[in-house]
């Protein structure tokens, strides 16, 4: 862009400045304020800035917050497990499908992404509710005599969250599968390995980076999800984001809400660290 290539190259970074300013105001400064507020003291509706560990000792000792945190972790683990199990075969299918079928699958995966999340939750309420589609039909057919509890519990939340995040799991796995040279699988097959052995010893290990990426995305997104557990879980599934919202919006206890947010962020950092450790453990042997 200029006669002086070296200086010009660094000058190009100036184009990033507007976004940098935006992030500083909406992201950097608020996160710093959040971290500092988590060490403030909140008594009788008044916040005292300073370095107190009150909020963190409350998290550790009130018996509720840690329970809610643990619920959030196990719920996210369940969502992630279901998501991976459903996503992997779909990614396999996309790899083996012809171009037309692959485009159709891509359409099916991307179109829900472009559909409002709350609208998708409403759709599941109509299907899973007490007088929803499934219960109505099962009762009409005489298979059950009273409605099954399909929502306002974990089951409903898992179904609806997997519905929202499935594309985020399929696409990284598909990307990893597509990068596998079929010659490697063919070599194993031509040496007499049955298809399941080819899959277990060649395909799956080579696809692991994609699986780890999908795991990370699903877990992180599930830890932070608010809307779907509120709608499909009623008040029966309480997660950390729900508690943070309640404490901040209804109790105005900003310091405690901040400390819980720090806990949420810390758990995400742990998941990311775990994922990079997994990636190293599973990193496939070099191609040549």
């Amino acid at each position: 862009m200029t006669a002086n290539p070296k200086g010009g190259r660094y000058r190009a970074w100036g184009l990033i400045v507007p976004t940098g300013v935006l992030y500083a105001v909406t992201f950097g400064i608020p996160m710093a304020m959040l971290l500092s507020a988590s060490f403030a003291r909140f008594e009788a509706g008044r916040t005292t800035p300073g370095f107190f560990l009150d909020n963190y000792t409350r998290i550790a000792s009130d018996g509720v917050t840690l329970q809610v945190f643990w619920n959030t972790v196990t719920l996210s683990a369940q969502i992630t497990a279901v998501g991976l199990v459903v996503a992997f075969p779909v990614a396999m299918l996309m790899r083996r499908a012809g171009p037309g079928m692959r485009l159709a699958l891509m359409f099916v995966l991307v179109s829900p992404l472009l559909t409002s999340i709350i609208v998708r939750n409403v759709a599941w309420m109509l299907i899973l509710g007490r007088s929803g589609l499934i219960n109505t039909w099962l009762m009409d057919w005489g298979l059950i005599s009273s409605p099954l509890a399909l929502m306002y519990n974990r089951l409903g939340v898992i179904i609806a969250v997997v519905h929202v995040y499935l594309p985020f799991a399929v696409l990284p796995i598909y990307a990893a599968l597509r990068a596998i040279d079929p010659a490697r699988e063919n070599a194993a097959a031509s040496l007499g390995a049955p298809p399941w052995r080819v899959f277990v010893h060649i395909t799956l290990p080579l696809a692991m980076p994609g699986v780890v990426a999908a795991f990370t995305l699903l877990f992180i997104l599930s830890m932070g999800v608010y809307l779907t557990p509120v709608i499909l879980g009623g008040n029966f599934v309480v997660t950390l984001p729900m508690m943070i919202t309640d404490v901040a919006r209804n109790q105005y206890n900003w310091p405690f809400a901040s400390a819980m947010s720090v806990l949420l962020l810390a758990s995400i950092v742990v998941v990311v660290a775990l994922a990079s450790a997994l990636n190293r453990a599973f990193s496939p042997p070099r191609n040549d």
Partner: protein
Amino acid sequence: MTERSGSPFGYAMLAIFGALVAAFLLLPLVILCIQSFTAESFLSFPPPSYGTRWYRHVAAAANWREAALSSLVIAAIVTPLSLVLGTLAALGLDRGPMRGRGVLYGILISPMILPHIVLGLGIFRIALDLHIDDSLLSIVPAHLTITVPFVVISVGASLQSFDTGLEKAAQSLGASPLRALWHITLPIIRPGLVGGGIFAFIMSFDEFIITYFLSVQTRTLPLEIFSTLRYQVSPAIAAVSALTIAFSAALTVALMMRGQVISAGRIVR
């Protein structure tokens, strides 16, 4: 053996599974749309009688019209701004030195992995201090923080396959850098702009939790659906939902027509 490994039987099993997943992803939305055309006061499937009763109801209801309008206004402001900010940032990365590029890219897309609840809480706090909560002044920057990363990824991907030689050629023929950018680069990376723009629009239109924190009077469509949604789904909500599905379907088709589904897939990767 030139075929990819795996038996035809295995492929058939995968295809059946794929069909089930497609049904899982799409059928709930189809059923919702069918139910929205009920002429009754309660939702059931299949509806005993059909009509556009609830669409007429929604079109006449002030709360839904206002909510749809404010969602559209916010998304219409956020989308062009995200395109400008995201494209500038992507260009800056692409034209900047290799050194530090990875770190900068990571920072630029980092709001994506931050839970929106935490982002919302932080922005809510600073907006309260500045007395700009419940205003476009806080809602628009908040939405931009979510949408700009999608544009950076989408435009960045387009720029990677762009041959900068074309720009240099234009400049050697006397075009100013800005002219070269406008007449050569932007038209060529248009698929990335369209994909990023559509994603930015949808993300803003659908954003819930941050707006939920910031708004007192402002009612966007997701907020209005949420506050109307009690233990029963009313036919009015079904009609509104079906309208947004139709809108999204139109956008998806627009993406497909431009062969953009693949790059939309790249966005979420």
